[in-house]
Symmetry: C2
Subunit: 384 residues, 2 copies
Amino acid sequence: MDATHYKLMIPGPIELDPAILAEMGKPLAAHYGPEWVRFYRETVSLLKRVMLAERARVFPVAGPGTAAIEMAIGGVVGDGKKVLVATNGFFGDRLAQIARAYTTHVATLEIPWGQPLDPQQLDDALKQDPEIRAVALVHCETSTGVLNPLKELAEVCNQRGALCLVDAVSSLGGAELRFDEWGLGAIASATQKGLECPPGLAPVAFSPEAWEVVESTESPQWYLSPKTWAWYEEQWGEWHPHPTTMPSGLMSALHLSLTRILEEGLEARWARHERVAQALRKGLEALGFAPVAREERYASPTVTAMRTPEGVEAGTILRFLKEELGVLIGGGLGQLKGKAIRVGHMGPTARMGEIVSLLYGVEEALRHQGRTIEPGQALRGARA
Amino acid sequence: MDATHYKLMIPGPIELDPAILAEMGKPLAAHYGPEWVRFYRETVSLLKRVMLAERARVFPVAGPGTAAIEMAIGGVVGDGKKVLVATNGFFGDRLAQIARAYTTHVATLEIPWGQPLDPQQLDDALKQDPEIRAVALVHCETSTGVLNPLKELAEVCNQRGALCLVDAVSSLGGAELRFDEWGLGAIASATQKGLECPPGLAPVAFSPEAWEVVESTESPQWYLSPKTWAWYEEQWGEWHPHPTTMPSGLMSALHLSLTRILEEGLEARWARHERVAQALRKGLEALGFAPVAREERYASPTVTAMRTPEGVEAGTILRFLKEELGVLIGGGLGQLKGKAIRVGHMGPTARMGEIVSLLYGVEEALRHQGRTIEPGQALRGARA
C-alpha cells in the first residue's frame, strides 16, 4: 500500500524474513488432496512441538488471533458456564467482552495495568466461587508489556478445577510457554508475532481435559466452534481436514518458520528474546523512560512498554522514528495513550543490532526536543 | 508446500496473476495509522463499486468466506428469529447448519441438486409462514455449478418482507450481481475466487434495511458480530477501523485486483466469464459429459459441474489432468462424488486458451481409457 516501507517494530505484525515473504509470493497450492493433507498434518505437528503441546488437539484457524481466542472461550463456556476473566490490560478486557457474548456468568478479577496477575488473588477468587469452571487470561499483555506468571496461574486453576484459557497471541514463539507441562486448558495465538509470519492464521490448542468439556458444550458457533473443526478432521481427514478453504501460501510460510524456530531451539529462542528485551528496557531507562511493567521479572521478552520521560509526548517519539529512521513502533493504548511507547521485538527484530539502532533513534528524538543526551547514553545503559 | 506447482482450475482458490503474487511477497505494512486508514477506506470503496453496493456497509473480514456468511446470518437472526434456508446443494445445506447454530427457528426449502431455486416456490414458502424474517441462500452453488436466479429470488424476499442473505463466495467478480438494485439484504464473499486474490479475506455487505435489523439484534458473537466491526469503524475510524489485525499484504493484493476488475468493467467481465463457461460446457458435452445444472440458463459462469460419461469415474479424469497436464480440477461433492467433475474458471483462467487446453486434456484422458475420441472433437463442440 505504501510507497515507502517502514520497518515494523510495532507489537505486531513484525518485520518478516525475506525467505518467509518469498513463500507468500509463490503460486498457491490447493487446500485439499493427499499432498495437502500430508503437509497440513506436518504443519500441525510442528505447531504442537513449538507449543510443547503433544497431548493437545491443535487447529490452525484461518483468521485473526481474536477469532481463535473466541473459539476457545465460546467452545468451553458457550452454554452459559461461569467464567472468570482475570485482566490487567486492554487485551484482558477484550477477553471479558468476548466471554460476555457467550455467557451471562462472567466474573472479573481486575488488576491495575502494569501489575502482573497474582496467583494468590486468583486462588482467592476461585475459592470464593466454586461455580467458576474456566479462567480466561492473557499471557503477554501487549498493552503493558507485562508477561503474566502463566505457570503459577495455571497451577491455581488446576488446583481449583477450572480450565485455564490463554491468549498467547504475543507470547508464543518468543516467551517460555509449556502447554502440557503447565496444564493449560487452551491457548490461542496468531502467526504475525513470535511465529514470524504474516497475519492470517491463528493456531489454537485444547488439552484433553478441555476437549472433554468442549464435547459436552452446546455453543452458538459454527466456523469458530472447535467441534466443527473436529468434525472435518475426523470425517474428511484424508482429503480436506478443516471446514473451509485455508490460505495455503500462508501455511507454507508457517511450515517454514516453525521449522526454523525448532532449529534455533525453543530455549535458546526464549533466552534471545529475553536478552534483547532487557537491553531495550535498560537502554530506555538510561534515557529517562520507565517500564510500564512494575516488576522487572514480569517484563515481557516480546513486547516492551515504557512510559516516556516527564513532559515528552509519546507521539513525538513515534513520528521522529518513522520520519528519520523509517521505523514504526507503537504508542500507548487506552489509559496509556500518549504516555507510553510500545516496541515489538520478535523474530528478526529480536536482535541487538535492531535494538541499538532503535535506541540511537530515541536518543536523537529526545535531543531533537531539546533534551541533553550524551551520544551512546542509551547504549551504555543497555550494556550495563 | 509442493515441489511441483499445479495450475489451479478447481472451484477456488484460483490461479493467480503474477502481479497479485508479487503484492503478497512484499514487506508488510502496519494495519493502522493515517496511511493505512486512507488505504483501507479506498479498498472498501472499491469493494462497494464491484458489489454495486453504494448504499451498503461493507467490511473486509479477515477469515474464510464461511465466516463472513456466519456474520451475516448470525448478525440478523442470532436472537432466534425465524429464517428460511433455500438450498439446492452442498453449500446451501451449510447455510442451514450455520443458521441452526444461532436459532432454533430454521425452515428449509430443499430443491434437488442441479435444479435452480424457484422464486415461485420461495414465494409460496414465505406466504405460508409470515414469521420468516430472513432467507439465506447461495448465489452460485459451487457443488453443482447452478447460478440461482438471485434477482428474482430477492424480489420475492422483498415483497414478503424478508431480508435476503446471500452466499456470494463463488459469484462475486465473475457473475452478474447488483447489490443495491436487486435489493439484497446482505452478501458475503471471499477473495480467492472471482476477486482474484489468495484466500484470507471475506468481504461482507449489509443493506441499510439489514443494518437496522442487525442493530436491534442481540447475537452471541464477538469477532463475527457486525456490530463489533461497526463499533471499531465508528470509534477507532481514524486510526484502526476494524477490531483486529488485518492481513495488510492481502489487502494490498485486493486493492490491486479490484482496481483491475473495475478497469476491465463489470459487464465486460461477466460476459467474458459467461462465454468461457459456455464454451467449456459445449466442449464437454461433445465428449459425452452432461451439465449438472439441468437448465442452460442457470449454468454458472464461474464454476462448471459436469457428470462424466457413463462408465467413466471422475477420479480418473482428475488424476490424468494432474499428472499429464499439471492441472487441478475438482471432483463431485456429496451425492455427486465420483460422478462429476467441477471446473473453476475465474479471473486469469476464464480465458479461451485455458479452456481449450483443458478440453484437450479431457479428450486425452478419455482416449487413455480406451474411448474413441476424434482429436478436436471437444473444441468443435466449444466453437459451435
